[in-house]
């Protein structure tokens, strides 16, 4: 019957299995998907006012053969050097170029060249299933542990390709799958915090969830846990930023010691999934693939666009099946959200930089006084919260009011830190009775 034809297998030109890591081989069976997948090489700027795709040409050198590279964000915005003082990110941090470059960009960043990094980094920058297999003798989890415990220099030798077909698709059935142990553990913990126990995404997720989960293997906030440097997603208490911060506090985790103030710091990285989870699109089941991999007609077939980039290049296909507006109007709406984000982000960022300057001045004058230590706490929280929305790459679009709410926490914490240094006590800055009462109601609206 016709309904079932839908799943009739494509004719297979080559046989694919768990050892087929080269996307070009998969491309023989799926030329349209392969072709668009290869387009992540092209670095085409998008139309948005806050678009970040602006590659610069450079003369290749012996240790860095790249002829094009994205501008240094530390030059673009020197506030970064203060926020991340003493940490590798303050030396080299750029906008992403595209999936095609993920392995090359990682190998060549100063964060790897000038600093010792663990193999853990590789998990999100290369095609991993075959590496896990090899290193774990067929056991993915064992391979994962092995990668994490190696040095980056060692581990990267095993890598041949950036994220490839095999990372997201089962080679036999083409079904979506997740292949990263860190995600499998993380999502299980997150679902448990929501009352769903023993969740295994590869068997229990809906197909629609998988259209987000394949991306959520990498586009998430993470840290390296313990001696084993195990890649870990901090979702055990939930996926509101307060839950995540509380998790780190209980874990007693610290990424680095701040270079200008001495505070024990946390770094946040690209929490696209985390923030999307708190937005209205997630609430409506709108997935990453819906916007970033819109269907395109290719002759008599529909195919998912595997050129992962800003959806503003494809607004019509990405947005207009659900929204009704002109392309320009749709882009304007995104820009308006992003403009508000940039306004609040800058306000919060200036406050953070001023807090850092104040702590530094106080330390230089009087050493690590009790007030400096109190200010550290404000800095640690403010910096993590700001970083969380700064390192998220949608400029606030994925969850506009949630992102703004986080920025309010940042501004408040920075300024309180400054006041603490002026001798204002924590009691004088405490939340009022009304706030404490409202907090209980607000808690009911979360999750």
């Amino acid at each position: 019957e016709r309904k079932n034809e839908a799943r009739a297998p494509k004719q297979q030109v080559v046989a694919l299995d768990e050892t087929t890591v080269d996307p070009a081989v998969w491309g023989k069976n799926y030329p349209a998907q392969y072709e668009s997948y290869m387009k992540t090489k092209e670095m085409v700027p998008g139309p948005g006012l806050f678009d970040t795709m602006s590659p610069e040409t450079r003369t290749p050198t012996a240790d860095d053969p790249r002829t094009q590279i994205m501008p240094q964000r530390n030059d673009e915005d020197p506030r970064i050097t203060h926020m991340w003082a003493g940490y590798a990110f303050s030396k080299d941090y750029r906008h992403p170029r595209g999936h095609y470059y993920m392995l090359e960009d990682q190998r060549l960043t100063k964060r790897v060249q000038d600093f010792k990094q663990p193999g853990t980094c590789l998990n999100c920058h290369a095609s991993m299933p075959t590496i896990y297999s090899k290193l774990g003798n067929g056991d993915q989890q064992a391979g994962f542990d092995k990668v994490n415990s190696m040095t980056y220099a060692e581990a990267t030798k095993y890598a041949e390709h950036p994220v490839s077909c095999i990372d997201c698709h089962d080679p036999k059935t083409m079904k979506l799958r997740v292949t990263r142990p860190a995600f499998i553990r993380g999502i299980k913990a997150l679902k448990a915090s929501q009352g769903v126990t023993n969740f295994d995404p590869n068997t229990d997720a809906t197909h629609n969830e998988m259209r987000t989960f394949v991306c959520a293997q990498c586009h998430v906030e993470y840290y390296f846990k313990g001696e084993g440097k195990t890649l870990t997603f901090p979702w055990d208490e939930g996926i509101d930023i307060d839950d995540i911060y509380s998790y780190y506090q209980k874990e007693g985790f610290t990424d680095w010691t701040h270079g200008e103030t001495g505070a024990p710091m946390l770094k946040a990285q690209h929490p696209e999934f985390d923030i999307w989870s708190n937005g209205i699109h997630a609430e409506n089941g709108v997935t990453c693939a819906d916007c970033h991999m819109p269907y395109q007609s290719q002759g008599a077939q529909k195919v998912s666009d595997h050129n992962l980039t800003t959806p503003l290049k494809t607004v019509n296909a990405s947005c207009m099946t659900c929204h009704h507006a002109s392309d320009d109007e749709m882009i304007k709406r995104v820009e308006k959200i992003q403009g508000r984000f940039v306004h609040s982000r800058d306000q919060a960022f200036d406050a953070l930089v001023q807090l850092i300057a104040d702590i530094k001045a106080e330390r230089d004058a009087h050493g690590d006084t009790a007030d400096v230590k109190r200010a550290w706490e404000y800095q640690r929280k403010a910096s993590f919260y700001l970083d969380y929305v700064y390192s998220e790459n949608s400029h606030g679009f994925h969850a506009p009011d949630y992102t703004q709410r986080i920025l309010n926490d940042v501004t408040d914490a920075c300024r309180k830190g400054q006041l603490a240094l002026k001798g204002v006590s924590d009691e004088q800055m405490q939340p009022s009775e009304n706030t404490l009462a409202d907090d209980k109601k607000v808690a009911q609206t979360r999750g």
Partner: protein
């Protein structure tokens, strides 16, 4: 219906109407009443105009006449099953009696919302006509699950 919506649903008018219908129904039989007064027999036909025997279907009818499928699909092409004649008439009867009763008793919401079972039927209908075009995108979908066409193409039938 949650407790909240139940509260707003239970207006005096509706309660009175429901009670009245219950009395009438127990005398002459709700089924017959519904079928005749509510024109539920309309469900058995296939002409879209018969659906507008109930004015509550006007909005969808208007949408359909403006929609992209006006020339290619009638109501029943999307809202009744294509798999077997028995299933088809079972659904028609089920919907007909249910909707007829609600129409007659004025107990349907201002904005009607399709039930999950009927949404599934509509989605099957999409595939009935378009499975060639969508076979490629369907290969990644696990057995027993279906891509929800309506997730993106909510408007095809009615705008």
């Amino acid at each position: 219906m949650g407790a909240r919506s139940l509260r707003s649903w239970l207006t005096l008018q509706r309660v009175a109407a429901a009670v009245a219908i219950w009395v009438v129904g127990s005398l002459i039989g709700v089924g017959v009443f519904t079928l005749i007064y509510g024109k539920a027999y309309s469900y058995l036909g296939s002409d879209p105009v018969t659906c507008t025997n109930c004015h509550v279907m006007n909005k969808q009818y208007d949408g359909w006449t403006k929609g992209s499928h006006h020339n290619v699909a009638t109501c029943n092409d999307c809202h009744t099953p294509h798999d077997s004649i028995v299933h088809k008439y079972w659904v028609k009867a089920d919907d007909g009696v249910r909707h007829g009763f609600k129409f007659a008793t004025n107990t349907y919401p201002e904005n009607i919302q399709i039930r999950d079972t009927n949404l599934k039927i509509a989605n099957d209908a999409c595939l009935y006509c378009h499975s060639d075009f969508t076979s490629s995108i369907h290969q990644t979908v696990p057995e027993g699950e279906q891509l929800s066409c309506v997730h993106c193409h909510r408007d095809v039938g009615h705008k």
